[in-house]
Assembly symmetry: C2
Homo-oligomer: 302 residues x 2
Amino acid sequence: MAREIMAKALPSEGKGVKVFYGEFVNEDYVFGYISRLIYGESGIQNIYILENKFWGRMLFINNNLQFTSRDEFIYHESLVHIPMQSAPEGKIKRVLICGGGDYGAAREVLKYPYVEEVIIVDIDPRIPKLIEEYFPELLPENPRDPRLTLITEDAYVLVDKYVKEGQIFDMVIVDSTDPDIGEAEKIQELSHALFGIDFHQKLLKICPSGIVVQQCGTPFTMKNILLGVYKIYQEVYSPKEIYVYRANIPSFGSDNAFIMRCPFRDPHIPKGKEIASTLYYDFSVHTGSFALPKFWKEILYP
Amino acid sequence: MAREIMAKALPSEGKGVKVFYGEFVNEDYVFGYISRLIYGESGIQNIYILENKFWGRMLFINNNLQFTSRDEFIYHESLVHIPMQSAPEGKIKRVLICGGGDYGAAREVLKYPYVEEVIIVDIDPRIPKLIEEYFPELLPENPRDPRLTLITEDAYVLVDKYVKEGQIFDMVIVDSTDPDIGEAEKIQELSHALFGIDFHQKLLKICPSGIVVQQCGTPFTMKNILLGVYKIYQEVYSPKEIYVYRANIPSFGSDNAFIMRCPFRDPHIPKGKEIASTLYYDFSVHTGSFALPKFWKEILYP
């Protein structure tokens, strides 16, 4: 299994139009894929699915790669198991996933038997449908797991409603596209509000003593949103409860940053039972993920 | 300083021919650079130097990226400080660098005041000259450091000579291009022999109780040489003394692997004084570098 993940091209079904697709990672720096374009549609977000010999299937939203079938497990395992294992065993029972309509984060959360309820709120109803058709491996082990609810709604709007209803969660995962901080983008990313201070003030209300975790892009090569989000977390949550960790998702190039508000002690020490069905995450990876390059720390903790 | 490293384009001097240069990372997967080609020459190795808005200057040997001026520090600091700090303080006095004509590894080794002698042996006499002209930042703090000797020779031949002379080193760094294991390459990489069992049997003779460290490429996306080299190390050295660690060098894409024969205990615990003038490496990075993804471990330790 592990051997197949690495350094080997995948079979192609030969469907779709052959294209050379390039994603600008930074100025004059491009990731290029000779691929078959097997799905493409405009709408509230532009969605493309490519099939590439090395990466397998690749989902792009607004020209930004979201994941590939070859290495999505690294992203989703990092996003979920590090916060889950930072909390005492059994503590996380009710989980809200903002974005994450691709089911990948939910698939990982549902591996914990003590989790009682998982709600995904994604603004784009096409994403879950496309996953079922093109990326069925992202679905939870039991795709009809009764603990899981999918809501098609703007996460900001739903969270606002939950604040008014007084709903409480043990963990909130913000699993969205990168926002458009600091750059003149043609397309306004729908995720923009999920990186703002208002949103986190609301999250604090529905998750007053739990974990909030958020993906923050690849600080070295792409938009540097990490520092901005870190400052917002410092303002909204207790500064002592904020942690940054990283994971290398090969298709993203450089290390991806994750930020976590964790009110539990020593999150770098995993607390629960190890989940057998992971491919990337284990307890040594857990602890190692919190070791940040010196130049990240110099920016975050000047 | 750290802020400048990340996510910001660099000024261009505007010299050279503007090209779109692509490096195939795997099948149908390309890193593309809109760049100025400021140096290009064939010979025993094909060498190109590009100037790119994001990466700065980039050195390619036989169409494979060796390093960029933006992130070479991560590669060289990982290659050097992890083994140096795995040994007891003051233990590493005499160091041989096989390859490494770019001076980057020597620059880092010479930061330790107790190092008495560093020999670089590189087969290609053009590399050190090009560094002086195009990448002066890779030179040691004191470019005329009397502890440093540069020898233009095939490392295999020099090591063979050192075996006959009975010379002894405390550390050997194999800092070469990737070999051409497992693929039909048009160009025979000169580094090929440095990954073979013969070479390591010789290294064991000149470094019987010291550290041998070697870069092993990016196992996820490029040639998977890690497992092959690991097996050679297991055969030549004591299996209990072999360690694998990783570092994310953004311009390489996915994590780079390093393999180390270290006869000293608990190499994941740094032993010496922390070097102030690093940008990537510190003691938390040291320990974290040994945390390997589960799918790496499943290949290495089945």
